[in-house]
């Protein structure tokens, strides 16, 4: 009797795995983050790039009318070409731009900012990419525009274009 239960449970175990794989075949296998527009951004805490201080997203976002979170990395080539856009945006407006450094080495990130300029009012790090995933990011670069209640107003996937920049300027004015 005991043996039969043992056999049965092993068979059931494999049937379970079979059905999981079978259902899994039908699921689309590409990574598709949830749509975050018109939703509130999840609160997160992160460490600073230059200091080891902890930052809470709410504190940074609530003190400004609008906030742009830019997810970037020094190894990401489109981020380099995008960087001049962010620099001009930070010069033209007083928009609160937060840089979230994605899966990067600290030395390279600092060098990147030294070389190309630092448009960010706060530099945060996301060394293992977990924050970016929870923000619903597809990859780098990506920018999320928020109001002071953490509501997502616009989300830009890929490098910002000059059209995007003028749209952002329009919204914040």
């Amino acid at each position: 009797m005991k043996k039969n239960i043992f056999y049965l449970s092993i068979l059931l175990f494999f049937i379970f795995i079979f059905s999981i794989f079978y259902i899994g075949l039908d699921k689309p296998n590409f990574y598709k983050p949830t749509e975050v527009r018109n939703k509130n951004l999840e609160e997160f805490t992160s460490t600073g790039l230059f200091s080891n201080k902890q930052f809470n997203s709410k504190d940074i976002i609530e003190n400004n009318n609008f906030t742009l979170i830019n997810i970037w990395a020094s190894w990401c080539i489109p981020c380099r070409s995008e960087h001049s856009m962010l620099m001009s945006l930070s010069k033209k407006t007083d928009l609160n731009i937060i840089g979230l450094n994605y899966k990067d080495k600290k030395n390279n990130a600092v060098k990147f900012l030294d070389e190309l300029g630092d448009p960010f009012s706060q530099n945060l790090i996301d060394p293992d990419g977990i924050i970016s995933i929870s923000l619903g990011a597809y990859g780098v670069p990506e920018s999320i525009l928020l109001n002071n209640k953490s509501r997502v107003i616009r989300k830009y996937i890929g490098p910002l274009t000059s059209d995007n920049i003028s749209e952002i300027i329009k919204i914040i004015q």
């Binding site: 990574y31 598709k32 080539i77 293992d128």
Partner: protein
């Protein structure tokens, strides 16, 4: 055109032979004939021959660029060099399956030729089980992935082979890996056959051990080649990324490595019989799971050829039929463990091999869970996660320390029962000396000094013990070389990851930068037109503190068919250091993004894996006296 016809009908003929072999072997089992029927042998040979014909006709279609064949059209181009036309045959789903089938039929033929001393019924049963697998692959090819589909009207030009696959290491990587995978299918069939015949004993172990060693050797070399390819071609500067496909090849390897050790216990002590059997079955099952995960598109990876759910369903059903078949057979013909010799003593060689197995099973489950957990989570909760290198590193590396220590001590123990008093104090002292040496080497690195020095110490310890063993007269060469290789392997990976350095910047031609103690100068670029791509070659001069100058020539290739841009890293390898440089185009053609890396002991990683596999293959050529 003609060659496709020949290939297709030859494949159908092979399928018919497979069906007849299946029935004929059942028929032969009922007869009480002492010798194996000559007809079976001829049929096996004919089956192999039909697959060879079929394979050659596909290669021929590729060579003459016959675009009436859909496989050729999708994966080749008339301007490709001849070498890559030939290797393009297995650089795609259909062709690679045909290669699988070729190796499957070749191996069963070889198995029958080299197993003459074994009982007839056992050999026939092995043919029977192997034919079930072969039949499954025939059906899979003919029903879902026929390599000889026609295209009408005939296109003028093909779509081309993915440029990153146009690399010598990758050209031979799949065939070698398949030899390993398919070798495990022979182990699977043979162990089911011996389960039914109830002859899992010392003689069987000696006989199947050769096949285990051969498959293990090819699997190791196959994984190594894939890894070398990733290092040179992908330009990420790493050699192992815990990509699902890499994991999938690692799972059968871990299983096979465990089996490799267990079968020795079976051979020497006639113990662990069901465990050997389970491992034999599991190894092939993991090879098949690998095929399923990679080919069905359930996981996303560079190796996914095409996402065809029909194929996925086929492999899944085939895979689970094999699993259920083996489970049922396993329950019906239960193996009775030998009670008289069942005693395991704590300090003995068999215990240490058992410990090796526990570790292998632990590593296997980490890799298995890390690879398949996202699928389970998504199906059950609709949540998507991605499991990356940190998961594997954190779960595997700490256990490696204990594993290394056992690996150093275990092989010197005696069979049956050893005394702990035989452990010499010199060995304990040596261990602490190793940790001190390792601490001295890693002390300047940034983090986790204690951990790195213990891991490095354990690897050094294994290395030293095996070197000493190697120098002493009564050694077991194959085991010593493999274990020495493993110590070297862990050590080189550790040093490589601790002392690697990376630098990245945007540079113009003529610009000079100083990074740490090295001076990097971008000298010039040169454009060339090659047979199937346009290339831009940059020239860098790197001057180190001792004024040694190295020239590096990274390249950007713009392939015409298909239109893809690839960066070819240039790597200068020396005994202790690899200099690795890769460039990327930025906007405009003047500024390049330059990534320069120094990677110490890179070549030692490859050498150590070669040592490990050489050790494994040496075992075949010598009479065992472990």
């Amino acid at each position: 055109m003609i060659s496709s016809h020949i290939g297709y009908y030859s494949l159908i003929l092979g399928f018919v032979i497979s069906v007849s072999l299946l029935f004929y072997s059942i028929f032969c089992l009922k007869k009480k004939n002492q010798n194996i029927n000559q007809n079976i042998f001829s049929l096996l040979f004919m089956q192999f021959f039909t697959v060879v014909i079929s394979f050659i006709s596909l290669v021929y279609s590729f060579v003459i660029s016959d675009f009436s064949n859909a496989t050729v059209y999708n994966n080749s181009h008339s301007t490709k060099p001849l070498f890559y036309k030939i290797t393009g045959t297995w650089g795609n789903h259909e062709g690679s399956l045909l290669l699988w089938l070729l190796v499957l039929t070749l191996f069963i033929l070889l198995f029958i030729i080299f197993s003459k001393k074994q009982p007839t019924k056992y050999r026939i049963l092995s043919i029977f089980f192997q034919q079930i697998i072969i039949l499954g692959f025939f059906l899979f090819l003919l029903l879902t992935s026929n390599p000889f589909n026609f295209l009408f009207p005939v296109p003028n030009e093909g779509l081309g082979l993915n440029p990153i696959l146009q690399d010598p290491a990758l050209a031979i990587h799949p065939p070698i890996l398949y030899l390993g995978y398919v070798g495990s299918s022979i182990i699977f069939s043979a162990s089911l056959a011996s389960l039914i015949q109830n002859n899992i004993n010392k003689e069987w172990a000696t006989h199947i051990k050769k096949w285990i060693q051969i498959s293990w050797f090819f699997l190791t070399i196959g994984i190594l080649l894939g890894s070398i390819w990733a290092y040179y071609e992908l330009g990420w500067g790493g050699f192992w990324f815990w990509d699902p496909v890499e994991n999938v090849s690692l799972m059968p390897w871990l299983c096979l490595t465990a089996l490799f050790h267990t079968v020795i216990v079976l051979e020497k002590r006639n113990l662990l019989r069901s465990w050997t059997l389970i491992l034999s079955i599991a190894t092939f099952t993991f090879s098949m799971i690998g095929t399923f995960l990679v080919r069905s598109g359930i996981l996303n990876s560079v190796h996914t050829f095409a996402n065809d759910p029909e194929r996925g369903v086929f492999i899944l059903i085939f895979l689970f039929s094999l699993i259920f078949l083996s489970i049922i057979l396993f329950f019906i013909y239960q193996v009775n463990e030998n009670n008289t010799e069942k005693n395991f003593f704590l300090i003995s060689k068999e215990t240490s091999i058992l410990i090796n197995n526990w570790f292998m099973m632990y590593f296997l489950s980490v890799v298995l869970i890390g690879t398949t957990y996202p699928i389970f989570l998504e199906v059950i909760t609709n949540e998507k996660i991605s499991i990356g290198p940190p998961f594997f590193n954190k779960l595997i590396i700490p256990f490696l320390i204990i594993f290394l220590i056992f690996m150093a001590l275990g092989p010197n123990l005696k069979w049956i029962k050893d005394n702990y008093k035989n452990i010499k104090y010199s060995k304990i002292i040596l261990f602490f000396v190793c940790i001190l040496i390792s601490f001295y080497i890693v002390r300047k690195t940034s983090s986790e000094i204690l951990f790195s020095s213990i891991l490095g110490g354990a690897a050094l310890y294994l290395l030293f013990i095996n070197i000493r063993e190697f120098l002493s007269k009564k050694n077991n060469t194959s085991q010593t070389i493999s274990h020495l290789g493993f110590g070297l392997f862990v050590l080189s990976i550790l040093l490589n990851s601790l002392f690697s350095d990376e630098f990245s910047a945007n540079m113009k031609i003529g610009q000079e930068l100083i990074y740490k103690k090295e001076q990097i100068k971008f000298l010039k670029i040169k454009s060339l037109d090659k047979e199937n791509y346009k290339s831009v070659i940059a020239n860098f001069e790197i001057k180190d503190e001792k004024k040694n100058i190295t020239f590096l020539y990274p390249e950007i290739r713009i392939y015409n068919q298909p239109n893809i841009l690839t960066s070819e890293a240039d790597i200068k390898t020396t005994v202790f250091l690899d200099k690795f440089i890769v460039i990327n185009l930025l906007k405009g053609e003047e500024i390049f993004n330059v990534r320069y890396q120094t990677k110490p002991f890179m070549i030692w990683i490859w050498i150590s894996v070669c040592l490990i596999s050489i050790g494994g293959i040496l075992g075949i050529f010598k009479k065992t006296n472990i």
